[in-house]
Symmetry: C2
Subunit: 231 residues, 2 copies
DNA sequence: AATAAAATTTAGACAAATCTAAAAATAGGT
DNA sequence: ACCTATTTTTAGATTTGTCTAAATTTTATT
């Protein structure tokens, strides 16, 4: 087998489980030098630490993660590339589902979790083209380009801003269906302008204006909404 | 667990391997009373007969096939329903790839083999709607509706027709990429009118007119082209 | 009907991904 | 520095889907 085929094999012969581990490690911050703890990965993936250890060894064997016993794992350059490719697919499929099939933003994640594992470079590139090369997914998260680059929009948690400040809602931190449905119910959506009218010292709850409507939201809600401040 | 959940489990908790076996059995004709031989399934799936036996037992356990030792397998009503649902997904995805993403008809099968296993009823129904409820896939094969019904177009193999007869090309029997590429190269496509000008007794090869162009094709080619005769 | 050939099943093994329970290593507190 | 609590790894088992080799059943041939 040629060296080129070995390289191809590595990226094409990833199992679904392997891909899910790589993606989780990336999301936990394992792309930086800081290694991620076995337990953190296990908790995030709803599996047991012993399973994570087994997989860490396998991924290290494949050159996708750095792993030293008891020292946690972090992604190699190859692992980061792989993670970005999966995240790209996940987010593009989410945009597709919303823009072309009228899914709501709380419905797309579950299906994208499956679609992100479809192996076809042509397929995802054509989906990208069909969607006119979107930069952000339905939850405001950036979509990596084919070569792994993506916009890091400067945004802040609504809960970190002071009274009087206003900006545009550009993302959500919690992407769970219940949270997204709550936002729908209260007229909060990406692209809308939010102004902090008042901040309650006692419980950090906020009195906000969203477009024309006034609303009271808890700290928990505010700490899951990303806003881009007006200049 | 309620009875309803048990039923749901059966249709939702199918593994990819199980789905592929069910689909293969259906394609080999196992939907009729005639049971399909273990070896036939093994050959079609490029696996070993012993593996087929193991899976036959599991599928029988789940009520998807009839199975008696040494007697082959056939699909139960539930198995047929399952097979039609997978085939529906496969063919709708093939149409999607051709109509919306500019895939050629020789590229779609491999990707559809993956996409057919995505679990989301809403997804496939929305794809169906986006495509305006197509009745046939890019190879002329009928697409089962949500409730498992589909058109059986009356069509004949070009090789079974006599000289002088003409009709419209409505399907291919061999859907392999090499055959489809051969057809492209020779200007043969679904929807085109074909007339048999002459039939060579010796080797059954045909001299045909396809639209305005004349062409000589072997028996092997003719026996993989479906035609609907003109009235 | 007996025997040979072919098809099918069984038995036992293996790889992938997971688990539980026990052992080992690390980190934190005094 | 020592002890303890926590984290992580190892060892061994389990499930799914596969394989090879041997045994069994069916089918075809004499
Ligand atoms: Mn998502
Ligand atoms: Mn998202
Ligand atoms: Mn196909
Ligand atoms: Mn087809």
């Amino acid at each position: 087998m040629t060296n080129k085929n070995v390289i191809l094999k590595k990226s094409f012969l990833m199992t679904r489980a392997e891909e899910n581990y790589i993606k989780t490690i990336f999301h936990l911050g394992g792309h930086s030098a800081v290694p991620i703890a076995t337990n953190a990965i296990a908790e995030q993936m709803e599996t047991k630490p012993s399973s994570v250890t087994d997989m860490a060894k396998k991924l290290a064997e494949k050159g996708l993660v750095h792993y030293k016993r008891y020292q946690g794992v972090s992604l190699t350059d190859s692992g980061i590339k792989t993670a970005l490719s999966i995240i790209r697919k996940h987010r593009l499929w989410e945009v597709f589902l919303v823009k072309k099939l009228d899914f709501t933003w709380d419905e797309v994640h579950e299906v994208a979790e499956q679609l992100e594992h479809i192996k076809s470079e042509k397929l995802i590139d054509k989906i990208d083209e069909l969607l006119d090369f979107p930069k952000y997914d339905p939850h405001g998260d950036p979509i990596p380009s084919k070569d792994g680059k993506f916009m890091v929009r400067d945004k802040e948690l609504l809960s970190d801003l002071d009274a009087g400040v206003s900006g545009v809602c550009v993302g959500v931190k919690d992407t769970s269906a219940p949270f997204l449905k709550f936002l729908d119910k209260n007229g909060i959506a990406l692209g809308k302008t939010i102004t902090i009218l008042e901040k309650e010292d006692f419980d950090q709850s906020l009195h906000i204006k969203i477009e024309t409507q006034e609303l009271h939201i808890s700290h928990q809600i505010a700490s899951n909404l990303y806003v881009k401040k007006h200049d």
